[in-house]
């Protein structure tokens, strides 16, 4: 799913090279979610990705005017983040680091988002919950909650009517919550039984 990438004005990079504080903030705001998604797609947790992004920006800031003039800021940042993750945050065997993931392969959202859950039971339940959705529903959930798009943006990007966007998301959320909550409640039943039986004694 190609996502609309926010335009990065060249003046922001120039500002960063001149150590302009507001250019740094602006560039960070424009690229943060995009870079986080890259880190998550690359197999890292969002927290680790965030730490690596901050390290990248810290180093860019410190290099200041020594930074090269860059035409494609986005791909420069992605490359820097990729290098940072492999160099300092890599959990894999560094000597074989390049054998794991093939460049260019983008796993689908549901696979990525299931991987991003740290609790194992949540991984299974979420996988099951997502598998009940239609492809259209999954696409809208991804756009809204992973790609950070507003309802109107989604309507524009998909050519759907805004009300259809609402209704599709609404039915998808209902299904997701049902599956996720059912699992939670089921696991609570034995606990209640235990408490009642203890009170009975």
């Amino acid at each position: 799913m190609p996502s609309p990438v926010p335009e990065i004005p060249p003046s922001l990079w120039e500002g960063l090279r001149n150590r302009d504080d507001s250019s740094l903030s602006e560039l960070y705001r424009l690229t943060y979610n995009d870079l986080l998604n890259f880190g998550i797609y690359f197999g890292f947790s969002a927290t680790v990705a965030k730490d690596a992004i901050n390290q990248v920006f810290l180093e860019l800031w410190e290099r200041g005017e020594k930074l090269p003039v860059v035409s494609n800021v986005r791909s420069y940042l992605i490359t820097a983040l990729r290098r940072k993750l492999l160099k300092d945050f890599n959990r894999e065997d560094r000597f074989t680091e390049l054998t794991g993931r093939e460049p260019g392969y983008e796993p689908p959202y549901e696979e990525v988002i299931v991987q991003a859950q740290e609790q194992q039971h949540l991984q299974q339940t979420l996988q099951q919950a997502l598998s009940q959705l239609t492809p259209r529903q999954r696409q809208l959930i991804e756009l809204r909650f992973f790609r950070n798009q507003g309802n109107e943006e989604i309507a524009e990007a998909t050519g759907m009517n805004i009300n259809t966007v609402y209704n599709t998301l609404s039915s998808a959320l209902k299904l997701l919550r049902q599956t996720l909550n059912r699992k939670e409640k089921r696991s609570l039943v034995p606990l209640w039984l235990l408490i009642f039986s203890l009170l009975g004694l």
């Binding site: 943060y32 979610n33 947790s45 965030k50 920006f57 410190e62 959990r91 309802n151 959320l173 996720l180």
Partner: protein, 339 residues
């Protein structure tokens, strides 16, 4: 949808998730939305449980991303730390001056104290200690709210009770990652080691190692001043620097490093940073509590760097062997590396 157009007190979990301003609050992209929803929660409306459910589901579906503005703030703090002109915190590399020796002396002294001053004082001054086995890690919260994560085969001890305003003293053997809370009153936090040096800080993050002949501090955040024995000049460390005590000369040296490499074990990584084979082998032995032998003729002085998963010693040693073109064999409980 505008923030005031709907009555948010009647929202269901799904209504929240469909509301752009709620999602902006969760993403931390809009300060106005953050302010609005923070204030809204403070009023404790009746549908707060639905709000919490929406928050949980949003977190799951977004992959638990940290909010934008919070992360940007964190970056600004990191930048400020590097540029800070404030007085540095003190790291004092000196022989230990712990008040309590562990073991029998504590017991003996305790009995005398108990006879003299009573049980309460004793209880407060008891030494509490935490240990980890080989291959184990443990996170400890100290009485002041600071945390320490102990690496494999390490021990941390401190007095049970820390009076407010009194010094915070702990003793470390092995390796630990410290996240020290800065208190309103500047109360020093000191890490003593059994044989080499004392680290004194106010509020900062660092990894300290104190194993037989390896005494080292790597600074992640904050600013520290390091002073060695009288003959060695004082150093100021900024984040990303390492200070080490030379076991032979007692001199203090510092260099630029990648600080995350030294707490890789927090993320289940075994990190080798410009080490020779004997140094790497010692690291492996300390981490897993195993015995590795090698013919010193094969060792060489080639330095290498790398990150290996901290899972099992077999995999780590195999990779080391392949990298150095050596063979690895098992000899009873020990491993043998040779040509």
């Amino acid at each position: 949808m505008s923030m005031n157009a709907m009555n948010h007190d009647l929202y269901t979990a799904d209504d929240f998730l469909l509301d752009d301003s709620f999602v902006a609050y969760r993403q931390g992209t809009d300060p106005a939305a953050t302010a609005y929803w923070t204030e809204w929660q403070r009023r404790k409306p009746g549908n707060l449980p639905a709000f919490r459910e929406a928050e949980r589901l949003h977190s799951v579906l977004s992959g638990h991303k940290p909010g934008l503005e919070a992360s940007l703030q964190e970056l600004k703090t990191l930048l400020a730390d590097r540029q800070a002109d404030t007085a540095p915190t003190i790291v004092d590399f000196q022989p230990v001056r712990t008040r309590f020796q562990t073991g029998w002396w504590v017991a003996a002294a305790s009995i005398l104290v108990m006879l003299g001053l009573g049980g309460y004082w004793l209880w407060q001054n008891q030494t509490v200690s935490y240990q980890t086995d080989y291959g184990q890690q443990k996170t400890i919260t100290l009485p002041d709210g600071s945390t320490v994560t102990l690496n494999s085969h390490s021990e941390l001890s401190h007095r049970r009770h820390w009076a407010s305003g009194a010094n915070r003293d702990v003793t470390l053997t092995g390796e630990g990652f410290f996240s020290v809370r800065h208190l309103e009153v500047n109360v020093p936090f000191r890490v003593h080691s059994k044989n080499a040096f004392t680290v004194e800080v106010l509020g900062t993050e660092f990894t300290m190692t104190s194993r037989s002949d390896l005494n080292r501090v790597v600074l992640n955040r904050g600013k520290v001043q390091v002073s060695g024995s009288d003959s060695s000049p004082a150093l100021t460390l900024v984040p990303g620097q390492l200070a080490e005590l030379d076991p032979a000369t007692g001199q203090l040296t510092s260099r630029e490093v990648s600080a995350e490499r030294y707490n890789g074990w927090l993320r289940n990584q075994l990190v080798f940073d410009e080490v020779t084979l004997p140094e790497a082998v010692r690291q492996v032995e300390e981490q897993f509590g195993i015995d590795v032998r090698f013919d010193s003729a094969t060792a060489g002085s080639r330095r290498f760097s790398g990150i290996l998963p901290l899972k099992d010693p077999d995999k780590v040693l195999n990779t080391l062997a392949v990298y150095h073109q050596l063979k690895i064999t098992r000899q009873g409980d020990a491993y043998l590396l040779n040509r």
